[in-house]
Symmetry: C2
Subunit: 485 residues, 2 copies
């Protein structure tokens, strides 16, 4: 690796000059909020926070940093869960915020497309799409802070992947500043473009290690005329998966969300989140939240869902079910699902895993691995919830009752996670379904990665970022200089 230097006063002065007072600060109070990751587990240092106003300013920053051999850490809403936007602890790198680049450059209902700058906040994009009678079908809990640049760079998932795919599937084009300071102009809104290697898809999910995304063109879809939201009680995860497949066949793939919630997660929400109440009269080992949408001239989704659920109860696939009778009831059902992470946070520290296995393997995984973890780590409790239809579950392990959870996590956390990741790998799964690698999963990723995959990724990184200056310490060991604890 070439030598990497920290930023000099001369470099900072030149950057301040280029970016102006709105785009440059070296005031520790301004920088401080952006030095920690969202979960507060990682903390870095940076001599300045750079906030360019456009791609040309980003290009100027990248060129100067390359000349000075100073690494750059791009950051959007800083809502990631793997510390992918937290700078190294040694202060060698500079933070580059995309948040000022927050214009929607173009939006068209007829083209079903929008061009948004990297700093556009997801909920603002939702609003802009709604205003022209369209929607952008990707949503997640952090939508009020997460930015388009970050969502593209991490190939974000969320609750509508079942029908619309991850960010990758919604991406039409990218504008990015590459590590040599050149601007990649790939913002076409074309539906089809077979001119060689898909650089857009290479930059998507690259976590800022191949360049800084400055804008993206994204696909929009029509707004649904109606939606139906239901909640069902189920005996086991296999029943849930069977139900999902039947619903998809009955509705022509209009199932947008199918979220699995175990009794333990629902109990935690009901105990910790004020204003929530149980959706069904009795308890059920497993639950699922279901959303089905319908078009203008098409079948009523509530009627479709009702008849499908009635048939499922008849077939003893489903134990009990309710369908929201109003938007308020629908929101209340969604709140149960979306409050799980917050309820867990209130409950205390836990070992979290964002795993995926093939969809059909998930029911057995949930039953068998819950038992395996509880046998290997007596007293631990599993909360496994999420996107069953994507084969993606948040498999979280709570320490035994009565222990100091922070201390237990420090002592046992890595061992528990290695245990889980090994079992996931043995079933052909991934240790990162939607959260990415960042710093938090780097060691485990490297430990379990296919050497061919790692070697090919490293070759690409070295070809595009030969100085290793783009988001060091994230995603690839190559760029790792000073691992954050």
């Amino acid at each position: 690796m070439p030598e990497i230097c920290g930023p000099t006063p001369a470099l900072l002065a030149r950057l301040a000059d280029i970016l102006g007072p709105q785009g440059f600060t070296a005031d520790p109070a301004d920088i401080d909020p952006w030095l920690s990751d969202w979960r507060g587990r990682y903390r870095g240092a940076s001599a300045a926070l750079l906030s360019p106003a456009n791609a040309e300013q980003v290009a100027a920053i990248v060129k100067l940093a390359a000349e000075a051999r100073v690494p750059l850490v791009p950051q959007g809403g800083n809502t990631g869960t793997v510390a992918g936007a937290t700078p190294p602890v040694d202060g060698s790198a500079l933070l580059v915020s995309t948040r000022r680049m927050n214009r929607i450059r173009a939006i068209s209902a007829e083209d079903n497309a929008v061009i948004a700058e990297a700093g556009v906040i997801l909920s603002n994009l939702h609003d802009a799409a709604t205003a022209i009678g369209r929607r952008f079908p990707l949503s997640l809990a952090a939508k009020g802070s997460a930015t388009i640049g970050g969502l593209v760079s991490t190939n974000a998932g969320g609750t509508q992947v079942l029908r619309f795919g991850t960010m990758r599937n919604l991406l039409l084009g990218i504008e990015a500043v590459l590590p040599d300071g050149s601007i990649f102009h790939g913002l076409e809104t074309l539906r089809k473009d077979n001119r060689g290697y898909d650089l857009r898809q290479l930059l998507a999910g690259a976590e800022g290690t191949l360049g800084i995304v400055t804008a993206a063109s994204l696909r929009l879809v029509p707004q649904p005329a109606a939606r139906a939201v239901g909640w069902v009680g189920l005996p086991d995860p296999q029943a849930a998966l069977t139900l999902l497949r039947r619903l998809e066949e009955a509705t022509g793939e209009a199932v947008e969300s199918f979220e699995l919630v175990p009794a333990r997660a629902l109990d935690l929400v009901l105990a910790n989140i004020p204003g929530t109440r149980a959706p069904l009269t009795g308890p059920h080992a497993w639950n699922a939240l279901i959303e089905v949408t319908g078009a203008e001239g098409g079948a009523d989704p509530a009627a479709l869902l009702e008849s499908a659920l009635a048939a499922a109860i008849e077939a003893e696939l489903v134990e009990d079910a309710t369908i929201a009778a109003s938007e308020a009831q629908a929101e209340a059902l969604w709140a149960l699902r979306e409050s799980i992470s917050e309820a867990e946070r209130i409950d205390g520290a836990s070992a979290k895993h964002d795993i995926a296995v093939p969809v059909t393997a998930m029911p057995a995984f949930l039953i068998e691995e819950e038992a395996a973890v509880e046998a290997a780590f007596p007293g631990c409790r599993i909360i496994a919830f999420g996107h069953l239809g994507d084969g993606n579950i948040h498999f979280n392990i709570l320490p035994p009752h009565g222990v100091d959870r922070g201390a237990w996590m420090a002592e046992k956390g890595p061992e528990v996670s290695a245990f889980v990741h090994d079992r996931v790998a043995a079933r052909g799964g991934t240790l990162s379904a939607e959260h990415g690698i960042g710093q938090a999963k780097l060691a485990e990723f490297v430990r379990l990665a296919d050497p061919v995959r790692l070697a090919t990724m490293t070759a690409i990184k070295q070809a595009i970022d030969p100085l290793g200056l783009m988001n060091p310490g994230k995603l690839l060991p190559l760029a790792s200089r000073a691992p954050t604890p």
Copy 2:
């Protein structure tokens, strides 16, 4: 570039030994059919045709070829239109056929996934999916010969892209032999996997220049319970686009195909293809073929289409319309669309362009550029048909009446194509929407490419294939040794 050598007798003997009589032939009569491209415009040479039975044999071939510095040209069904699978004329390269790797390794309705080897023929994959109550929603005219490896390597499109996207969107995983002979094991059927750079998407559409795809895992979808196929007469392309957007809103995006057919293309089909007849009573300047599908419990697609078309006639958007009353009528309407290329072939040589512009820009493009071409090249006639909803039109230019079409093409073809490509580029479009670059479009691609895109692609090529042995002369000028005429 490192020096590249032709195959020696010793190398051929070792390959024959590894592959056995079923996997190796040096008999010119066996090799000959595979030396020309599908359109018969390019012809190369190869000392042997290698037909490995599995990925391990491909890896052995690639390693030996790398040691001997002999280039390899992978080939599937050889149905591409840009000579991407035709070897160089100088005989330096060896042809590697994937056609013997034709097993479907796994298929699951519950997982909605299939793992198919590179040599599986598309129509066989369709049949396998149908047999388990699913379908693979990508189809094109060459489905009886085109193979999965080629369809992945060229990111194939076809007539269902509007709803399901190109091959890229249906791709879950890839197994490939990389240029160093290592096997990339990426066949997971995971719906979500955020472990860094998406090597699957890098290999998809790479036209064999980064390695040889040996298998792919692909997404399946439920079979529709019903379909409705309609044909409409329209005053102009803008009316067609407006109609498409209304249909999508009315049907919840259940429009699977929306193919634009100008009067001239329909006339050519009716004149040249026996058994075809006009679908509407009067002539219309433009026509569209529409297919809408419906699910089990959902609205009847024929009823949806009928009411939407009635409203469109009322609004004077559509001049006339018919909906197929039987499967036979539906097939007859589709035959009109699918016979256009054959009707053109019978008519004689023409300058073909596979272009895309943003969807909203296409109506004006069709009107204005038809006029521009006819003004610049007096007597020429345009036949522009295809995937309006993808912004992708096959923009073909027929020579003036009475000229020797072959001679005209040789003399005027490049000039006409450069004229068209310049106009496409000026509208933010692409000179290859779905056919790829191969040999046929290489010069034009390089002429018009953004230098940043070209430099980044070249850096990736050099990083992954430093010897430049994988499918030389295709996609990138780097790998071009002896341009085929």
